[in-house]
């Protein structure tokens, strides 16, 4: 078996206990949330008898392990259950909302790579020049602003003062890509700024480190063009840690998307989580937390493997 394939398989097997633990944790988390879901469904009013009946109907009167097992077997078949609030099937809701969140996260990631990597590279190449100082100051400020506040400021500037972009509202990227993207520009900028700054900072320090290595001196000594040295020798090696940082911070994007979606009223998965929390909609919270954390674990695994692929030194271990 080729070593890379074996590594993938080992990691996938190692994931199984983690996934079981995750499912137990998501299930348990919801059962400590105060507020009886049956009471919530009846709108807070209802005779004790009605509440008891509804509890029975929802299966809330049975022991926890039994309910966990039933829930797990349904989830394994791709059925996350129904919302207590409006009776929609959670899986359908997820399928409908996922493209929005995916588009938002991908666009933020794109912005952070397109802006952050060149900024870091420039900063390193022109170390201690005014370019470097300006980039570092901007980085520091960007790391200090809350994303949702930046979103508000962007709305004030681009939507209210300059009338360039819509304030809120949404067209799905699935039905109409271009007008959908127009609604996503401000949210993605707000969400992506933090990661952009993080990347710029990281690329700067790792390019600086790589530029001091012997192989860069060798490359220069044998008369290679500075551009080739920078892009083929320095940047390629400097980007390896950047990939890890992006992987780790996808979690920040996923969590942050909940805040940004709520603020910009975007119908994404994150907004659904927050609405479900307000409504004490147990099955939805349960299903979404499990779904998002499984996604998160898988992304991290993918990033780890990509890392091994990019850095041949890690393949031997």
């Amino acid at each position: 078996m080729p070593p890379l394939l074996r590594q993938v398989l080992t990691r996938l097997v190692a994931l199984i206990p983690m996934l079981i633990a995750l499912s137990i944790a998501s299930f348990a988390l919801v059962h400590v949330i105060p507020g009886d879901p049956a009471l919530v469904m009846l709108g807070g009013e209802g005779t004790p008898q009605q509440v008891a009946e509804l509890r029975k109907q929802l299966g809330l009167d049975r022991p926890l392990p039994v309910r966990y097992w039933e829930w797990l077997t349904r989830v394994a078949r791709g059925d996350l259950g129904e919302s207590l609030y409006n009776r929609t099937r959670i899986t359908d809701e997820l399928v409908w909302r996922f493209p929005t969140t995916l588009a938002l996260v991908c666009l933020s990631l794109l912005i952070s790579v397109v802006v952050g990597v060149p900024a870091g590279l420039l900063s390193a190449v022109f170390r201690n020049s005014w370019v470097d100082h300006a980039a570092r100051l901007l980085t520091l400020v960007s790391l200090s602003m809350p994303s949702f506040w930046l979103g508000l400021m962007l709305i004030i500037l681009f939507s209210l003062k300059l009338n360039l972009l819509p304030v809120v509202g949404y067209t799905s990227v699935v039905t109409d890509l271009w007008s959908g993207l127009r609604f996503l520009i401000l949210p993605s900028c707000a969400l992506g700024t933090y990661l952009t700054a993080l990347l710029a900072r990281l690329v700067r320090s790792s390019v600086l480190e790589v530029l001091g290595q012997d192989y860069v001196r060798t490359a220069r000594a044998k008369g290679l063009h500075e551009r080739v040295v920078l892009f083929r020798h320095a940047l390629r090696n400097a980007l390896i840690p950047a990939v890890t940082v992006m992987g780790i911070n996808l979690g920040i994007l996923l969590g942050g998307s909940a805040v940004i979606e709520t603020m910009f009223v975007l119908p994404g998965v994150g907004q659904l989580v927050i609405t479900a929390l307000y409504n004490r909609d147990l099955p939805v919270i349960q299903g979404l937390i499990l779904y998002i954390s499984v996604l998160y674990v898988l992304i991290n695994l993918a990033v780890d493997l990509l890392y091994t692929y990019l850095d041949p030194r890690l393949r031997l271990g």
Binding site: W149, L152, G256, I289
Partner: protein
């Protein structure tokens, strides 16, 4: 008799710098860094203003005054007034009390538990360490802000839930860092030497392992502090923190959303306060990191 003893003990033995000496050296280095000075000045002035809030000549942060709604920033109200006629400056200053306290308590709670668990995982048996680290892996496998939102929702709204929620998020990160350092410290020769001299285990941990871990952990904590402050603002922005009318930076921003078209100042100032304090902490944290651990320098 006495002179002979002093002669024997006066043979110079080069000792490695103690944790305290290193801390002192790092402290002087931090003092020389201009950016860290700016950072600490920002933090200190914010903390001072927050502490002194009741003694400053500020309007009440909660008292309604319908006749002076939506006043733009001016001489009477430097930061303007909000939808209920409350002074925004006063709300931002009083908001600092809640937001800064919540973040500080989170760092204390997560720091104390995290460092203790990390050290136990670093010096304990394989089984103890395994159990602790698998639990931490589990906590780490949730996206951070989402975990905080879920925990805060489970506990009900309020500052207390936010503190617990954010502590849960940062606990595994602190445990990992501490354990990593504790493992390298335990492998050092001076620990082996102390063991060989028959020093009891608990003494070894408290007197040698802990102080040597602390210097590195403190660096990490100062950088987490800035993140916690941002996360605290996000949670209270989502409505999970202190309920109104008590002002927090997050909940002022939440309320300001509806009025950004006509009264953008309600949104601008609390955000500046958050950004300024996070900037201060970041400047300070970076300087501490550079001074303590040259390997981490960026």
């Amino acid at each position: 008799m006495a002179p002979a003893m002093s002669e024997a003990s006066s043979i110079p033995i080069p000792l490695p710098p103690t944790a305290l000496e290193r801390l002192g050296r790092a402290w002087r280095k931090i003092g020389r860094n201009r950016l860290s000075l700016i950072g600490s000045l920002i933090i200190m002035s914010l903390v001072l203003v927050a502490l002194a809030a009741p003694f400053l000549d500020l309007a009440s942060p909660v008292k309604l005054n319908i006749s002076s709604r939506f006043l733009p920033p001016g001489s009477g109200h430097w930061f303007g007034t909000d939808q209920l006629g409350r002074d925004v400056l006063s709300r931002v200053v009083y908001g600092a009390r809640v937001s800064l306290t919540a973040s500080l308590l989170t760092m204390l709670a997560a720091g104390l538990t995290g460092v203790s668990l990390g050290i136990v995982a670093g010096v304990g048996t394989a089984r103890v360490s395994g159990v602790i680290m698998r639990l931490m892996d589990l906590l780490m496998s949730f996206p951070p802000l989402l975990l905080a939102v879920a925990v805060a929702a489970a506990l009900g709204t309020g500052t207390r839930s936010i503190i617990i929620a954010l502590s849960v998020v940062y606990l595994p990160r602190i445990v990992r860092v501490t354990r990593g350092i504790a493992l390298t410290v335990v492998a050092q020769e001076y620990i082996v030497a102390a063991q060989a001299l028959g020093s009891p285990r608990w003494r070894l941990v408290l007197r040698t392992v802990l102080p040597n871990c602390l210097s590195v952990v403190v660096v990490q904590l100062s950088l987490y502090f800035a993140e916690v402050l941002l996360a605290e603002a996000a949670l209270s922005f989502l409505g999970l923190g202190e309920p109104p009318p008590t002002p927090t930076w997050g909940n002022i921003l939440h309320d300001s959303q509806k009025y950004i078209r006509n009264a953008p100042w309600i949104a601008i100032f609390p955000g500046c306060a958050i950004a300024l304090s996070v900037l201060g902490l970041n400047l300070f944290g970076d300087a501490v990191r550079d001074a303590m651990d040259p390997r981490l320098r960026t």
